[in-house]
């Protein structure tokens, strides 16, 4: 027995199905459950709609030299083409925490800096020691 959830508000009226057929008239409580589920879905979509999809060029010009968390980003190779800016801040930690709090309604995310890396020389070394001393 499952709750129909495809086409509100009809789903709320018919409520329960078994093998694709309504089995009995849903109770008021069942209708409330379906309505509540759809309320959450609609609320999530509304939250996602608050964030406009921007191209990478627009993101860089609006938020220069900041860390941004993007929702539903689209990539080409390793480059971001577009995404919805969920959060932005010069501090990577602040951008990440705020971005995490605004995840609702999005399926994928990325974290990226809009500025340029400093042209400095680097040395790589990250070795796990056999055991903590």
């Amino acid at each position: 027995m499952i709750l129909i959830g495809k086409n509100p508000p009809e789903s709320g009226l018919y409520g329960l199905v078994k093998h694709g057929r309504p089995t009995k008239k849903p109770t008021f409580a069942m209708q409330q459950v379906v309505a509540y589920q759809w309320k959450i879905k609609i609320a999530d979509n509304m939250e996602a709609m608050q964030f406009e999809m921007l191209s990478w060029e627009e993101i860089k010009s609006h938020y220069p030299d900041e860390w941004v968390v993007l929702g539903d980003p689209i990539f080409e190779g390793t480059l971001v083409l577009q995404g919805a800016v969920l959060s932005h801040h010069p501090d990577k930690r602040v951008a990440s925490i705020e971005g995490g709090e605004r995840r609702k309604g999005f399926k994928s995310f990325t974290l990226i800096f809009t500025g340029q890396d400093q042209p400095i020389r680097r040395i790589g070394l990250l070795r796990t020691l056999p055991k903590a001393r």
Partner: protein, 130 residues
């Protein structure tokens, strides 16, 4: 033959690939044969809403700046350069706090790289496996 793009802009750049964490968050990872293990920036946990309390243990790691402590987290899924690893342990440190200011949020270490024979095609900026 499958090829995977990497970013390498000039002599001052690092080799960057994209990795997907938990099938949701795509992050820039430094491809680093000088790292024994894969490492993730703590900030990625905030985006993925992984509690810092989920760390399973701490390890000591040697970096170019000296020894530091890293937390080990078990990441449900990591997809990178054609590999998909499940329940893989990664070291987590706060990159900014340890002086890593560059535009990447993870380090792809030898624990993952050694799983295939990797071939760099620098002219095309692609990786392939043999």
């Amino acid at each position: 033959m499958n090829t995977y793009p990497f970013e390498w802009l000039d002599d001052d750049s690092l080799v960057i690939v994209l990795a997907k964490i938990n099938e949701e968050t795509t992050l820039r990872f430094l491809l680093d044969t000088g790292s024994t293990h894969t490492c993730l920036d703590k900030n990625a946990l905030y985006i993925e809403q992984i509690s810092l309390k989920e760390a399973v243990k701490q390890v000591e790691i040697e970096t170019a700046n000296g020894w530091i402590l890293a937390d080990i987290f078990i990441i449900n899924s990591i997809q990178v350069i054609g590999l998909k690893l499940q329940n893989h342990p990664v070291q987590v440190i706060d990159f900014i706090a340890h002086g890593i200011m560059s535009n990447y949020s993870g380090v792809l270490g030898m624990d993952i790289l050694q799983q295939k024979n990797l071939c760099f095609h620098f002219e095309e900026r692609t990786l392939s496996f043999s």
